[in-house]
Symmetry: C2
Subunit: 230 residues, 2 copies
């Protein structure tokens, strides 16, 4: 008798993530995984994003938290395509949780889907959810050492958002040191400065617009033919 | 042939934590595990604590980060009893990491040992390190919903520190809502308001002093006799 063994939980996750990505591509929706610490302003950024992009892109959100639906309640004021994932005690989203939650949004109607990960700079980094881009988010209030302390996030991120830049000056924050750490770890990465609470998020919106326009889904809408793609 | 199986990694962790606790008690040192998100101000609080308690208590620190020795470098200005634990990709400290690190401080010389956990509100909560108390730390800059979103931390904490209270007024923060969430989850818990960057940390120092004075180690210094204790 041969007992099947799942050798690697991450491998299984990657297979489900690939299924998600194929479904996202079939629906021509660009998907970003937003990763940041608790209180860095992820939900506030998304509130401002939903408002700014109204009439330009149809944006949906899947939002992860251990518990409560507070974030989804806030975001539901800006889109009816939102689902809350409660992870219980789990410190990150995995591809299967996203797979369950994406049933609750109408992918065909969306241009952009943001997955707001659980507030955590560490655990979400290694998990593919099927996204097209990963964005790491820091805030001035957290101090300038957070990039150096979270090198994997910086290295894996397609862009970084630095929030609460309106606190520069009022808070000690070594901007030069922050940038030196970031570019040492990832020379080509974009840093988008925002003040989400004030609605000052243009650098982030511009990066997002570029990504959506550059995204050419490899699978035609409605097709079930799966071809390998990066 | 019988293959031994470790049934529960947390059970093993608890056994090592108990060894740590016995060693702390034998040295008459009171140990606190400080848990908070990235950038809530843990290291800044400890810098101010070391300065304030100079001549009153001998304080050592074990500090956890994925990488870098930046926190230990900062804290070494206030005590020569400090060790940095780099966890690599691990999102929390475990009892064995503390066991390795505590060799680098002279427990006999200390009254207080603070274990500054990895910046993370989720994963560190369930791990016993051998501490006598767990403290959860939030900051005004993170927003008022963090207690509700991290119920296990609030429930397990012997005290909570709310940092950056000098930002109240400048930042939106529903103080009443924060307190309602905290006391619903843990009616008896102490909330110590601090502004660590300004050195305004008296409520935290007073709670800490009470704990140290109330702590009666059950094992006389130097004894190797181990008796069960809470």
């Amino acid at each position: 008798m041969q007992i099947p063994i799942v050798e690697n939980v991450l491998k299984l996750n990657d297979e489900v993530a690939q299924l998600n990505r194929e479904q996202f591509d079939a629906a021509s929706v660009w998907v970003v995984d937003l990763i940041g610490g608790p209180g860095c302003g992820k939900t506030t950024l998304l509130e401002a994003t939903l408002q700014a992009l109204k009439g330009e892109f149809a944006v949906g959100v899947l939002v992860g938290d251990l518990t409560t639906s507070r974030d989804a309640d806030r975001l539901a004021r800006g889109t009816d395509q939102v689902a809350q994932i409660n992870t219980g005690q789990a410190c990150h989203l995995d591809a299967n949780q996203v797979r369950q939650a994406m049933r609750y949004v109408d992918l065909q109607s969306l241009d952009v889907l943001v997955i707001e990960n659980v507030g955590n700079l560490i655990c979400p980094v290694g998990f593919d959810l099927g996204q097209h881009a990963k964005v790491g988010m820091f805030s001035v209030a957290e101090g300038a050492d957070k990039a150096a302390k979270h090198p994997r996030l910086v290295q894996m991120a397609d862009a970084l958002v630095l929030n609460k830049i309106d606190m520069l000056g009022a808070q000690p924050f070594d901007r030069n040191g922050f940038e030196a750490d970031v570019f040492r770890l990832h020379p080509e990465v974009v840093i988008a400065d925002v003040a989400a609470l004030r609605g000052q998020i243009e650098p982030w919106l511009n990066w997002l617009r570029q990504q959506v326009h550059a995204h050419h889904p490899p699978i035609p809408t409605g097709s079930s033919i799966v071809t390998p793609h990066a």
